[in-house]
Symmetry: C3
Subunit: 294 residues, 3 copies
């Protein structure tokens, strides 16, 4: 395993191995690379949790992290991403974690570098380490994926989380449903067939995976106010009471409190939202170990 | 001691303990936390000296510092400070140092985190580690606080340094006076009673604590030019010659040379301005040790 | 050796020593300072390769690097560079690497600091560590400098690389020529006498040192399009075929592919462009060792 661009790069077998390694790290196992290792985290889009999570994961593995401010880099002088990476590789960087707004930016990079590359999120495309941390959280809870019903609620078409998770969950044997404004699913045949109303979803889902409403990417929430969206499609305290026993709530963050989910539910018993963030470090440590360990 | 928000959080006893620890660090003592410890420095306002001072203090203690660029964080996506901190805590961050422009931002955070929090300056409010480094500098010089006369010169109402110091110095037995444009003290009864003209202050003060004129926060210096302010309220070479024998000059920096103090006096015999910066590292190491050591 | 501002600071003897040390590092030698050492990289102009190269070099030497965001520093509050450096020195920083847009900014700093200072590039002036990495690359290739013919191609007047290299190469016994648009050399007698057309230069030069066309600093490339510049003055595949046997191509980066050099030649057999970047780390490690080692 040299790079991780999308969940499609990983066999089901490999996913299970990575989750197993992540669980070991969660239980306190230590591992460091055999030689001094340099990483850069190239985040061309703002991020708190993903970047910080990688920063902690890298340091827990004893990796030296080289700061790279994308806002003051040679990219401003018109350098291509590929030339920036070649430069970093020449300078001695062993690993690059990249978040970029362009969908599938990594396709043009494959096979060109000795340096390892991990996709930290591309445009509306993939976010494989988020997917792995979500899978880790589900596995910790249920011990399996087969026969679980997972409903993803929100704007699937603009969500890299949903995209990465849908493929992975299906491959692992879970059944995936979708909810949210029906308009967002129109014309998307693959998703439309598993579309369910939120009031149905809460009753049969083992996992309710809420997505962030991407104010940044939408001009409008279809003329709905935050309150109207919450009442019609969000997880309200009333809906939470009707959720299936033993089921859990997930959200990749950052949460719009009072929109996707009621403020009071963010840290409720069923919520695994902050557990997901904790698991993010272990999942990323596991990916890095599988990539760096020879 | 779990957090340090204001000097009011510290008993006189505790202040003495922290200063004692700081003096040990100044003399070369080493201490590191028992386990790998992660810190973030969340500076929502520009700062060179305070942020860099914490960065050095943390590394001297062997703490792993996670970079956090406030300008490219999820705060931009509307996340609250509290949710950002919860995220960082979940990711495994043990300590956050925060500078924020909102007065008393920390009040809403108290008791909500396992993570330790140190206030690195809030709005026009508190700046407790600056206060501790000032106290350390005074203690090194005079070996005591009782019966010392300290005059703070400048715009008290906009200075978090003055606020933190006034309380602490009084508690430790020093007598605190104020100087600067009288207009800045009008209507502020508590301060007005100890108001003295700069030409008086220099003759009886053991410590002359100059404040930075906050161009950023004032629209005007009451229609005074920098030269006029300096002549009327600043420390000129002539005034310096009349200062009490054995007295010292302090300034939290950055200095406006030729405004609060004459250019030639910044590194003069009486000046402890760069000594203060050196002491800042020891004072911060001491605070972090008292917070992290169990 | 306390600082490195320009190549003029270095005797020919010292240059040879530094290159020797750099070669040792390239072969895997280790060295760390005797005590914990703190560095800051103060880059007031954007840079990927130079800043990252120093960051890696410092960490390979076990130096603690303190982050310093020039965009959110006290410089914004009007603090002078000298006061910023005095502050950093007081806080305990041992070494500052500075890039600044002002020519010869370092002249006002000489002799004022205990802290060591390395010039990481000033305005259109000097860039000594770039020069040293270029020399290292040439020495690795030819084992000597005497009698080598080096042609620098591009806008000499705006290039700190050319300036630093011209002096150093001449002192070491190489013969330096210049090529590019003749207009850029008019009125510059010292350069004009060694001016050669690119079609001549390729036939006799051992080293073809291409400079970046500084779009940032020019309003125009004399009304030439990128294609026209490339055809008339750049290294085209046809010209590369006519280059002297055993000769090499160098470029400090970032490359404007298809302007100074054809896209297909950037990683060709004769190109040492990425080798230069690798050597940059070793050259900088060597400079830091010579400055820090007592």
């Amino acid at each position: 395993m040299n790079n991780l661009f999308t969940m499609k790069d990983l066999s089901t077998e490999k996913v299970h191995q990575i989750l197993h390694t992540a669980e070991s790290f969660a239980q306190g196992e230590k591992w460091t690379p055999a030689k001094q290792t340099f990483a850069v985290n190239l985040f061309f889009e703002p991020s708190t949790r993903t970047k910080t999570s990688f920063e902690v994961a890298e340091r827990k593995l004893g990796i030296d992290v080289i700061p790279f401010e994308t806002g003051s880099s040679s990219i401003l002088k018109g350098e291509t991403l590929e030339d920036t990476l070649k430069t970093l590789e020449s300078i001695g960087v062993d690993l690059a974690v990249i978040r970029h707004k362009q969908d599938a930016y990594y396709e043009s990079l494959a096979g060109k570098f000795q340096m390892k590359i991990v996709n930290g999120g591309d445009g509306c495309g993939q976010h494989p380490t988020q997917s792995l941390l979500d899978l880790l959280t589900i596995k910790q809870e249920f011990g399996k994926f087969e026969d679980l019903k997972v409903t993803i609620v929100g704007d699937l078409s603009h969500s890299r989380v949903a995209r990465s998770n849908t493929e992975a969950l299906a491959a692992l044997g879970a059944e995936v449903f979708y909810s949210g404004p029906a308009e967002w699913f129109e014309g998307d045949a693959g998703n439309a067939q598993n579309y369910v109303d939120i009031d149905e979803a809460i009753e049969f889902s083992d996992v309710l995976m809420l997505l962030r409403i991407q104010h940044e990417r939408h001009d409008t929430m279809m003329d709905l106010s935050a309150e109207q969206y919450h009442e019609r499609y969000g997880l309200t305290p009333l809906r939470e009471k009707r959720m299936k026993p033993g089921s859990i709530i997930m959200h990749p963050g950052p949460v719009n409190r009072g929109v996707e989910i009621a403020d009071s539910l963010v840290e409720s018993d069923k919520s695994r939202i902050f557990k997901q963030m904790e698991n993010g470090v272990y999942a990323r440590m596991a990916v890095l170990k599988h990539i760096l360990d020879k």
